[in-house]
């Protein structure tokens, strides 16, 4: 320590910084370190980078130093983190996320279990599934309810619906507690009322089907069930195998009794079975996805702590990554080659499923106070992630914002840990109840994130909520 060094404050009034970014479209040509005042804050640095980029339209930037966002002056940051101003500082700039504000809410009659957004050039539609056994389609321009699926009496789901996805603009898949996956047609013609009509019922699972993934070009579906299996299905009547008779409602005397109450003039909807059932998990399979660029590869996450990779052509288990906690949700971050999985232990684990990777966990995202039920990727940033939790919040993450922690302390797994950039609470819920014990009344069950529509979340408050960055970008 140079305790008697003169004019310490003057000496540190400038610092050499090396500006870097992982956003390819805002790279600087000149990458040599530059000298800046330590009094600079985010805004001044953002102006500086825009000047260097000679941007016509300024892009707001945020700055990461050692994985932490700069929220103070550089000087204060260096002091708080015990970093010497003598050394060249590597400063990573990232497109600033604008705080997402509440745009609209869609009122349901019961808990909303999942949401999926259709966004085409001509229109945006929100599809939601509910514990009342119904699917609903909403117009995002005026929040109008356009269509509701038929009830159990009219060939609808006979219990809570847990997952729903657009197959195409005109076709929908859903699954739930009645152990079925159902395929629906959706018609929305100019001038006539929109309608959801059942076309196919898929049987094969023995317990609830909590999640589905779709691959539109091949008309295939992956399903995740509490029976511990991953199902592969065709959405086409002609290519789907016959249904297993022992699992049809006709094999159940209680269901037969119920069906007698159904309308007499109901036409029987076609029933089919799975292309294959993938065995390997030893507990509830909570979530499944197709690999983004290869529909012959599927991933699944389970309460058995593992994420498994499947070869869907041969029904072979290719890889098992075992974490420390039961897993509830799964999504892929393709450009960074990571899978994100949400745990009952309140965090998100990012892992690299490629065989070349030996590490189980690449990164842990901490901040939620209850189970992480759902995940979606940022449509605009390969580093952005959205999570929904039973704690009643959604969180927005930038996985470049990380710090290293020692293992063991506080029960953490060690390694790289990230913190969220924004937290979104349930709109219309009082401040105290937003952090309700046990997430009572505010649990989030489903999220989606689409450009133009925004962050869409569904939950126990019987609402679908849309949040979007508004104002200057």
């Amino acid at each position: 320590m140079e305790l008697d060094a003169p004019n310490e404050s003057e000496k540190t009034s400038q610092v050499r910084i090396k500006l870097t970014t992982r956003d390819s479209d805002v790279q600087l040509l000149e990458t040599a370190p530059i000298l800046v005042s330590t009094a600079l804050r985010r805004y001044a640095l953002s102006t500086l980078v825009n000047n260097l980029l000679e941007s016509e339209k300024p892009v707001p930037f945020e700055f990461l130093i050692n994985g932490q966002f700069l929220r103070t002056s550089i000087d204060e940051f260096l002091t708080a983190n015990g970093i010497s101003a003598e050394r060249t500082l590597t400063v990573e700039y990232v497109r600033a996320l604008i705080p997402p504000v509440h745009i609209s809410s869609y009122e349901h009659d019961d808990w909303v279990s999942s949401v999926n957004v259709l966004a085409t050039d001509s229109r945006a539609r929100i599809l939601s599934s509910s514990y009342d056994g119904l699917l609903r389609i909403w117009n995002t321009t005026n929040t109008d309810l356009l269509a509701t699926s038929p009830s159990a009496r009219d060939n609808g789901h006979t219990a809570a619906v847990k997952a729903v996805k657009w197959l195409t603009e005109k076709k929908i898949a859903s699954s739930g507690d009645d152990r079925t996956i159902r395929i629906w047609n959706y018609v929305e013609d100019e001038g006539s009322a929109a309608a959801i009509t059942p076309v196919l019922e898929l049987y094969g699972h023995k317990m609830t089907v909590g999640d589905i993934a779709i691959h539109t070009p091949t008309s295939q579906i992956l399903s995740a069930s509490a029976d511990g299996r991953v199902g592969l299905w065709s959405t086409s009547k002609t290519t789907a195998p016959t249904a297993p008779t022992s699992l049809l409602p006709t094999a159940s005397s209680s269901a037969n009794k119920r069906r007698k109450l159904a309308k007499a003039d109901n036409k029987q909807v076609s029933q089919r079975g799975p292309l294959s059932m993938l065995d390997g998990h030893t507990d509830v399979v909570s979530s499944t996805i197709f690999k983004h660029d290869d529909p012959t590869v599927g991933y699944s996450a389970s309460w058995d702590h593992s994420v498994r990779t499947w070869d869907l052509t041969t029904s072979r288990l290719v890889d098992t990554r075992t974490t420390l906690h039961p897993l509830l949700s799964l999504t892929e971050m393709p450009q960074v080659s990571l899978l994100a999985t949400g745990t009952t232990a309140r965090h998100i684990t990012l892992l690299d499923p490629r065989a070349s990777s030996s590490k189980v966990s690449a990164l842990t995202l901490r901040g939620h106070a209850n189970a992480v039920s759902s995940l979606a990727v940022d449509p605009k940033s390969q580093f952005g992630l959205l999570s929904g939790s039973h704690d009643g919040s959604c969180r927005v993450w930038d996985i470049r914002s990380v710090r290293s922690v020692a293992s063991g302390g506080g029960g953490g797994d060690g390694g790289q840990v990230g913190e969220s950039v924004y937290v979104i609470y349930r709109e219309g819920v009082e401040g105290v109840k937003q952090r309700a014990v046990g997430g009572e009344g505010v649990k989030v069950f489903g999220v989606d994130w689409r450009e133009g529509v925004g962050i869409v979340s569904a939950g126990e408050d019987k609402r679908v909520q849309v949040n979007r960055p508004e104002g200057k970008q």
Binding site: K206, T208, P249, S253, T344
Partner: protein, 380 residues
């Protein structure tokens, strides 16, 4: 100059003993009145609860969604609810008053047609047995020990397909691991207090007619044909095949409320109304190996994790649950390691009662509690 503390064996710190439940993940509310009992289903996705309002309710464990309910009795509380321990069936056994109600909760995701069929067969097979029963049975002229019957259509329509009634209010139902035998305890039933029933035969036996003391609770040994009966002061173990008394454990408690046998079969925990939790190593002694005094009020329930995690918990009228690490080593020379891990608070005391029941998830470090405040809580 030796510090006597340094001679004591070092206990591991709670941080090293994860995972164990630390936070309330869920609250189930709808019961009007005290919740007496909770039970996690064999699949680990559902929780059944029974309460003073006469209802059995079934909840989705991780979301708290109520999926099913049935009122069993207009004037009796549901004192105990428990799932039959088999993944091949979905059957709830719940007691209100003197009657055990066997229910297949139709409509739940676990009750697929195959499970429904298997469950119906398990509940119905005894009707055939009873009909063919030879009339040379001993109690032909006596009042039957229990009445097995098909309940009213208002119950059968909702899946309540079988009842078994004894002579006095049932406070405990405890299953043998295979799910054919179960025992009921009616503390005020005198010579009929402890009954062992055979579900497949709709048969009831009273092997402990001359029990010394008032029966409080009972349990089957996890692997051997041994049966434990707790009276207010003692726990007796019996060899069921030889019909002999094996041991009398004396925990030293003034009034036992609850017991649970460790899955390994050689250790036993005992909860008492006089606030004590006692650990018995039955190989070691008839006296407790450890006495744990952590609660301000009566202990109502004690339970070991049954799915391979070294955890146990108790529930108290002070409104809290205490989670412990309890590691049993196979080696006869080494004693169990017991470490208090966490006090779980949240239930509100009501009418001097706190937490009345608890159960563990079959695999994960999650437990669920039944409160006098009318709520159930899931702890993860």
């Amino acid at each position: 100059n030796i510090d006597p503390e340094s001679l004591l064996p070092k206990l591991p710190s709670p941080d090293e003993l994860r995972p164990f439940p630390t936070v309330c993940a869920n609250i189930f509310r709808d019961h009007q009145g005290r919740v007496r009992s909770v039970s996690v289903d064999p699949t680990g996705t559902l929780v059944a609860s029974g309460a003073d309002d006469g209802y059995v309710r079934v909840w989705e464990m991780l979301t708290g969604r109520q999926l099913w309910n049935k009122k069993l009795s207009d004037d009796e509380a549901v004192d105990v609810v428990t799932w039959r321990p088999s993944k091949d069936t979905a059957i709830i056994a719940a007691a209100a008053g003197e009657t055990v109600y066997f229910t297949i909760p139709f409509g739940l995701h676990t009750v697929n047609p195959e499970i429904e069929q298997a469950s119906r067969e398990v509940l119905d097979s005894g009707f055939g047995y009873q009909a063919n029963k030879p009339t040379t049975e001993t109690n032909i002229n006596k009042e039957p020990t229990a009445t097995w019957s098909r309940p009213s259509t208002s119950l059968t329509n909702d899946g309540v397909l079988l009842t078994a009634s004894v002579r006095s209010t049932i406070k405990v139902i405890t299953w043998h691991r295979r799910g054919d035998y179960f025992a009921t305890v009616s503390p005020k039933g005198q010579s009929h207090a402890v009954a062992i029933h055979t579900l497949s035969k709709h048969l009831t036996q009273l092997p402990f007619r001359k029990l010394k003391g008032l029966a409080q609770t009972a349990q089957f040994h996890p692997s051997k044909p041994i049966f434990f009966v707790a009276t207010q002061r003692n726990i007796r173990s019996y060899d069921l095949s030889a019909q002999t008394l094996l041991k009398i454990m004396q925990p030293g408690a003034r009034w036992i409320s609850s017991i649970d046998v460790h899955p390994g079969g050689d250790n036993l925990i005992v909860g008492s109304y006089d606030r004590r939790l006692l650990w018995h190593d039955m190989d070691l002694s008839t006296k407790p190996y450890k006495t744990l005094r952590y609660h301000q009020k009566a202990i109502r329930a004690v339970k070991f994790h049954q799915g391979g995690l070294p955890l146990f918990a108790d529930a108290s009228d002070d409104g809290s649950l205490q989670i412990f690490h309890g590691k049993v080593v196979g080696d006869l020379m080494e004693n169990a390691t017991i470490v208090p891990l966490k006090v779980l608070r949240g239930h509100v005391e009501k009418g001097a009662l706190g937490v009345l029941g608890l159960d563990w998830h079959p695999r994960h470090p999650w437990c669920v509690s039944a409160g006098a405040d009318g709520s159930c809580r899931v702890w993860c």
